[in-house]
C-alpha cells in the first residue's frame, strides 16, 4: 500500500472514531445537546467526508490501474493536495466556517478527480 493511501486511510479511521464518539454523545444524552449542538456539523462532516470520502480516496489511490511508463501513479501531487484539502475542509466546516470548508472540499474533489481520471483505464 503506498504511503499516501496509508495516510488517507488512517486519517479516515481517526475521523470515523472521532465522528462516532461525538455522535454517541449526541445520541446518548439530548440534555447535553445545548453544549454539544454546535458540534453536530462536525459530526456529520467527519463521517460523511472525513470517513467515507477520504477512505474512497485512499483505496482508489492504492488500487486504480497504474502506468507502465513515467510515474506509476501519475500526478501524485494532485492526490496529496486532495488529502490536505479534504481534511482542511472537514475542520473548517466543523469550526463553523461552512463556506470556506466546502470550498476546500470541492477543491479536494477536483484535485482527486484530476489525479484519478487518467488511471481509470484498462489494465494494459
Amino acid at each position: 500500500m503506498p504511503r499516501l493511501s496509508v495516510w488517507m486511510i488512517r486519517t479516515a479511521l481517526l475521523a470515523l472514531a472521532a465522528g462516532a464518539a461525538l455522535g454517541a454523545l449526541l445520541l446518548a444524552d439530548p440534555g447535553l445537546a445545548g453544549g454539544l449542538a454546535r458540534w453536530r456539523p462536525l459530526h456529520g462532516e467527519l463521517l460523511l467526508v472525513g470517513w467515507t470520502v477520504q477512505l474512497a480516496f485512499g483505496v482508489a489511490y492504492w488500487i486504480l490501474p497504474r502506468f507502465r511508463e513515467g510515474r506509476e501513479r501519475g500526478r501524485e501531487e494532485l492526490a496529496w493536495a486532495a488529502f490536505v484539502l479534504v481534511n482542511l475542509g472537514v475542520l473548517l466546516v466543523g469550526a463553523g466556517q461552512p463556506a470556506a470548508g466546502r470550498s476546500a472540499e470541492a477543491m479536494a474533489a477536483i484535485a482527486f478527480a484530476a489525479h484519478a481520471w487518467p488511471r481509470v483505464k484498462p489494465f494494459r
Partner: protein, 136 residues
C-alpha cells in the same frame, strides 16, 4: 470471503433495503398523519450511513485489506465480531429508541446503550484495521 465478511455484507444489504423502504414510507401521503414517519429522518439517515455504507466498508475492508500476519491474516477475529454485533445491536436499539424519544416517551436507556454499542463497534474496527494499513 471470510464468514464475518458474509455476515457484515448481508446485514448491510438488509439495512439498505429496510432504509429505502422506510424512505419510501416517509414519502407516502399518510406519512404526514403518522408521527413515527414524520420524525424518522434522523433514523433514516443513520441507518443508511451506518447500517449500509459503513457496515459494507467494514465487511470489504476485513476481507481485502493487507494481511496482518501469515498466521492471523485478518488480525483479531474477536474484534471483528465485536464490530459486527455492536454495530447491529446499536442500530436495532436506535430504531426502537429514537421514535420513542421523538414521541416524547423516555428512551434514555435504549439510546445510551445504542450509543455505547455503536461506539464500541467502531473502536473495535479501528483497532483491528489500523495495523493492517501500512506500507509494503
Amino acid at each position: 470471503m471470510p464468514p464475518l465478511t458474509r455476515w457484515l455484507v448481508k446485514a448491510a444489504l438488509f439495512w439498505l433495503v429496510a432504509t429505502l423502504v422506510l424512505g419510501l414510507a416517509m414519502q407516502l401521503p399518510l406519512a404526514a398523519r403518522v408521527p413515527l414517519l414524520r420524525t424518522a429522518w434522523p433514523t433514516y439517515l443513520h441507518l443508511l450511513v451506518v447500517g449500509w455504507l459503513t457496515q459494507l466498508i467494514f465487511g470489504v475492508a476485513f476481507w481485502l485489506f493487507p494481511r496482518y500476519s501469515a498466521d492471523r491474516p485478518r488480525g483479531s477475529d474477536r474484534l471483528g465480531w465485536v464490530s459486527f454485533v455492536g454495530l447491529n445491536l446499536g442500530l436495532i436499539l436506535r430504531v426502537c429508541g429514537e421514535p420513542r424519544r421523538a414521541l416524547g416517551a423516555d428512551a434514555g436507556t435504549l439510546l445510551l446503550l445504542s450509543a455505547v454499542a455503536q461506539l464500541l463497534a467502531v473502536l473495535a474496527f479501528v483497532l483491528n484495521t489500523w495495523p493492517r494499513v501500512r506500507e509494503r
